[in-house]
Subunit: 726 residues, 2 copies
């Protein structure tokens, strides 16, 4: 309340006016709908508000660059939302409880504090409780503007999660250089494997209309430290590189730039033919190299801080250097040479497998790329999926990790749930990401984790990166479901710090997204932490993989066979027969285990030592084999499928108890989706058991229900219009 108000009548009048003003602003009731993501900035509980306010009386500092302005604006917005009143703004600290933000360049007060900012690098920051001009202040300082922005979001997160604001001494910097989203978005507005509506990019109205959502997208990413984005699908369209589309991409880059986000594009390898009028795209043809040099220079005229190209080549029908008898290194290096003068990089995907299927698909990327180690230009990174097949609910770590010490390997995680129930299944992916990052490659002895490969420490990579295939679309809630926002969040947090625990991330996110009430935080975090295991259980237990419906990847399809190529079927992967089930990748089979370090190969290759979660990934196992539970493999499969369904039922019941704590709009959508998930989990379980039973020819364990329908029923289901499949 204004301090000039003296009389009760005056106070009354002021209150009436402010109540009216808020009412005018609020308009009719509108439920929360997820648009605000984890940046909701809802009022702090009144008991704690006074205490919080004492740390946010003033925003101090010179904020004259776009990025510092964004940082100050975010602080102002966030603190006003949480505290009910916006802090005052000042060039320097003049009151106790100030937040001073800036760089030594923007602020002499910060320069004078000698915070040791050299430690935090180009993107890091320091949060420090101290005294400035004799006033109590919280300092958000960095060497760069974007570091200040990241620090501002960190400070807001402390308010949002009700963390202590006393005696702050935070020193943060990202462990990974490129923290990048991959949008598989097509120029026609569709999104490959997108389950959250149309593409966020309204290419048709660009560059003239800049949807405010682009700014909110930038804010959300900056809040996590995501610093790059590939706007276009890896199954690329050369039109994206034409002048009109570069104008459009440049307009987006202009919105994202203040938030520290650099734009990348996918390069269709045959673009010199399709839009350049050349007869070839041979990377060793001088005219082709010249065309790309000219094209890249044109791109940099549009986007001076353009990041570079992401390339899918010679994979699933995409053109590439092998079309001309050249290697992946020849192709990547040609593009890298065009980008190098502008400091751009090439992210070359390792997701390749031969058209001719000469070998276990799981082995092909390793076979293709390991011989090329050391042959790539300095500004090439190789982008490797977490596992060797394709974003399955569970895969052992990709054998390339640790096997290319001279080539920076980026991680490619999938955030969109192509194989994990689309937008309706609640599956928190941090435990899956964590499992891969924690995997030990043993390439330099025990402790040579994938995390150390990816953060560059194991091999001393000069460049590092983590990419996530985005789950962001035009849906109001961005990600198709409220809980899928957590996967965007978790990706971003892990890209910044690949050591964070799944639980810590889940708790942060839950507090910011739903509530700080323990009655909410505890059950929601538990649901999240168990959810991925539940999905593995009802979809692909015990190391099974690639059992989904053909093409659209929706629902179970363990019976899928035939068609254009064996390794696009399910039977190729599960190899069920009268004897047993599983893909023998030991020396008696495809010997894919030989691509791992000897210590790893020894473990995976030994039926007794192989972790049961990977059992059928590496071994063809008899139906009556006794697993750790002492059940037979067949019984264990049935038990596991059933447990997955039950876990979803448990989530649904837990969620139903949260009605008093979660706004009705979001509660209802999550509840509806959990009901769908439970139904679909049952479908996965029943269809899979009905099918595998035709091989095992064994009864279900006692007390376990038969599938609800016949196998023919499940096989007859068709989904010609499942989303994300174009």
């Amino acid at each position: 309340m204004g301090s000039g108000v003296r009389t009760t009548a005056g106070i009354l009048k002021q209150l009436v006016l402010s109540a009216a003003a808020v009412a005018v602003f609020a308009g009719p009731a509108r439920a929360e709908d997820g648009y605000d993501l984890w940046l909701r900035y809802k009022p702090i509980e009144s008991a704690a508000q006074r205490q919080s306010r004492s740390f946010a009386t003033q925003i101090a500092g010179q904020t004259e660059t776009p990025t510092l302005r964004a940082a100050a604006a975010e602080l102002s917005r966030g603190l006003a939302g949480m505290l009910g009143t916006a802090p005052t703004v000042s060039g320097s600290v003049t009151s106790d409880g100030a937040v001073l933000l800036g760089t030594p360049t923007s602020s002499s007060e910060i320069a004078a504090l000698k915070l040791g900012l050299d430690r935090v690098g180009d993107e890091g920051y320091v949060l420090r409780s101290t005294t400035v001009n004799g006033r109590r202040a919280t300092v958000v300082a960095a060497r760069s503007d974007v570091g200040v922005l990241y620090g501002a979001f960190h400070l807001l997160r402390l308010f949002q999660t009700r963390a202590s604001l006393d005696n702050l001494d935070v020193v943060e910097s990202p462990r990974v250089q490129f923290r990048i989203l991959n949008h598989w978005d097509n120029l026609d507005g569709t999104v490959e494997r997108g389950y959250s509506g149309a593409s966020l990019w309204d290419w048709h109205k660009l560059p003239d209309y800049l949807d405010p959502r682009y700014t909110d997208y930038a804010r959300a990413n900056a809040s996590l430290g995501i610093n790059a984005t590939v706007l276009t699908n890896v199954n690329a369209n050369a039109t994206a590189l034409t002048a009109p589309y570069l104008d459009k991409a440049a307009a987006l880059a202009g919105v994202l730039r203040p938030y520290g986000i650099r734009v990348f594009l996918t390069a269709r390898f045959s673009a010199p033919i399709e839009i350049g009028g050349l007869k070839t795209a041979d990377p060793l043809d001088p005219a082709v190299a010249a065309w790309w040099k000219t094209k890249v220079a044109e791109i940099y005229r549009h986007i001076p801080d353009f990041g570079g190209f992401l390339v899918k080549a010679n994979s699933e029908g995409q053109p590439g250097p092998q079309d001309y008898g050249r290697s992946h290194a020849d192709g990547a290096n040609m593009l890298a040479d065009a980008l190098a003068p502008h400091r751009g990089v090439v992210m070359w995907r390792a997701f390749v497998y031969s058209h001719e299927e000469p070998d276990d698909r799981a082995k092909q990327a390793y076979s293709e790329f390991v011989p090329l180690d050391g042959k790539f230009r300095d500004n090439v990174l190789l982008q490797v999926k977490n596992g060797a097949i394709d974003f399955q609910p569970r895969e052992p770590f990709h054998p390339l990790f640790g096997a290319m010490p001279k080539t920076p390997l980026m991680m490619e995680f999938q955030i969109t749930k192509e194989y994990l129930g689309f937008a309706t299944h609640l599956v928190y992916l941090a435990p899956m990401y964590r499992e891969t990052l924690d995997a030990d490659t043993w390439r330099k002895g025990k402790g040579s984790t994938v995390e150390k490969v990816v953060d560059g420490s194991l091999h001393g990579y000069r460049r590092t990166g983590i990419a996530g295939v985005a789950n962001i679309g035009a849906d109001r809630n961005w990600s198709g479901s409220h809980f899928d926002q957590a996967n965007w969040y978790a990706f971003g947090r892990l890209a910044w710090n690949p050591s964070l625990s799944s639980e810590a991330i889940a708790e942060e996110w839950t507090r910011m997204t739903f509530s700080n009430e323990p009655a909410v935080v505890e059950p929601v975090v538990q649901m999240m932490l168990r959810s991925r295991e539940a999905a593995v259980d009802y979809m692909t237990p015990l190391g099974l993989h690639h059992l989904m419906g053909r093409g659209h990847h929706y629902g179970p399809g363990p019976w899928v066979e035939g068609g254009p190529r064996a390794d696009w079927t399910s039977v190729y992967y599960h190899r069920a027969d009268a004897r047993g089930i599983g893909f023998d990748r030991t020396a008696t089979g495809s010997n894919a285990i030989a691509q791992y370090a000897p210590e790893v190969a020894a473990e995976f290759g030994d039926l007794k030592r192989c972790p049961e979660k990977f059992l059928l990934w590496f071994h063809h196992v008899p139906w009556d084999y006794r697993v750790q539970s002492r059940r037979t493999l067949w019984d264990e499969l049935v038990v596991t499928y059933t447990r997955g369904v039950q876990s979803v039922g448990d989530m649904r019941k837990t969620w139903s108890t949260l009605t008093p704590y979660v706004d009705s709009g979001r509660h209802a959508q999550v509840a509806a989706f959990l009901t769908i998930q439970e139904k679909e989990a049952q479908w996965w379980r029943d269809a899979s058991i009905a099918y595998f039973k035709t091989f095992s020819k064994r009864p279900l364990p006692k007390g376990f229900a038969e599938p609800a329908h016949s196998l023919d029923y499940y096989k007859a289901l068709e989904f010609p219009h499942a989303p994300g499949h174009h």
Copy 2:
């Protein structure tokens, strides 16, 4: 404020609490984004609020049916938003200023009032200021629940537009029976000719997840009296008629039903082959007829109040009865017979033209259908576009209107702006609809307007209908732009009452959507009223038509020629040559004028009497012909194109003066779109002049700028990913 509060301290406390409650509810600032459409229910200016409140102290009546509950809920929501406090709810009138709603069945108080409800039919209503139980009350009464709902929206509109609430004596009923939206929405989520994002229907998550948007869609339609909707594209997919999709459609029907909206589907004529396993879809084959009877019965088991089928047959590649040598009547009647036992109807589209192009395309629908007059079943309506070509910016009325006295002709308007600048051009369509409705067919002498054909009064049709091709999608603002909401609104209002003026509708909409401030209402209404003429001027002046880019229909393409068929080119329609320009549809040409009544034909066919707006539609006119302005035709063309561009500039300038009155979010988007429109208007003008100049070989009138670019430049522009084209 609660009446029990006595002390100042108590009042203070209460105010603080309520302010806090509102603040908690409101959360951080969120701009208006158009989601609320014309149902924003923002607070009435405080000066008028007390007066308004005196008419809404109480909502009285028994509201125990879903529709009456919806009516009461809408009143409560709207009045609470506008008045700041929700009226109390009571079973009967107990206070002055009550709103009593119901039917004679639901309310004995209404039954006792003897309101003469027989006058209003099944969907009409009465609003009456009267006294009930000795208390001053406003009565919203109808014979049916849905009439009450419509009346509730009418009453809310009076509050919203600041109309007088004194001495109400409103008697309303719809003039047209089927007031129906046609969604050209595909099952894969794309929308043909849709410029407002993906389809509103999330088929994949249906029937299990009911997006709250479906309810808001129903509310918006009910507020206009729209009572039916075709969920699927006229270019139909038989999959929509399979059991899983009928479950989905039934779920939508369940949401729409309380709002008086019946669901229709498009019937793909070859469905018996595609999903029925038959070898033929011949409508005279008994197995085909039996298949449809069975299928229709199945649909009614899913949707007991299913409306019927909309059919596009033997048009633009769609299958139809002519594939089997049968007539359109044979096809429509076969479906009608299947629907009749369930009281369903067939809406059969008249938009057909031959593959072989034997004749002026403008003549073909008339030639095809007039001989069939009287041959259709009682439950068939023929759905006729407003003009004979295809939703051009301006077309003379379709010659079928008035020419089929024994067959109910429905109007088909296009709301989505396929040919009118997509979502970015501000083009208010009521004047276009009005122009067609006001056109005089002269079929029963002077005054035989299209309006009277469509409302059934001219020929005594037993069934009547007006269809609008929807402009509704998943975009936050529903229609792609804020002003395109006005076209949905205008369509609905005209479908209810085809006599309403464009200006009255524009004023209502502006008041509800933007503001009741005269400083807003007057300029916005003027912009809207002039906008369609501006678009005609910069796109297709003086009766020119079908000059857009090929396929995507985006931007000018007067040079389009060749390709699969002549009547999909521009040159077919403008026929420019060294001598002049225009399509001779008089007796010396295609003689399309002979399809009109003699009085109309005489006017259109006479170069001197033909309205100049239709000049080049009916006549091939020499370049040096003197038009009414005494300018040559060529000069007039240039002047008109230029005027169109200037009009858009004027709109842009007018809008820029409204910054103080319109919320920043919506103001900015409209401003950005007007900038796009001005640029594209200039493009239309320049490209058209550059092209037609190659025929006229005449200079531009003095003071008129040459096109900015060469003709080759304009011809080279490509738009492979323009929206709405799939």
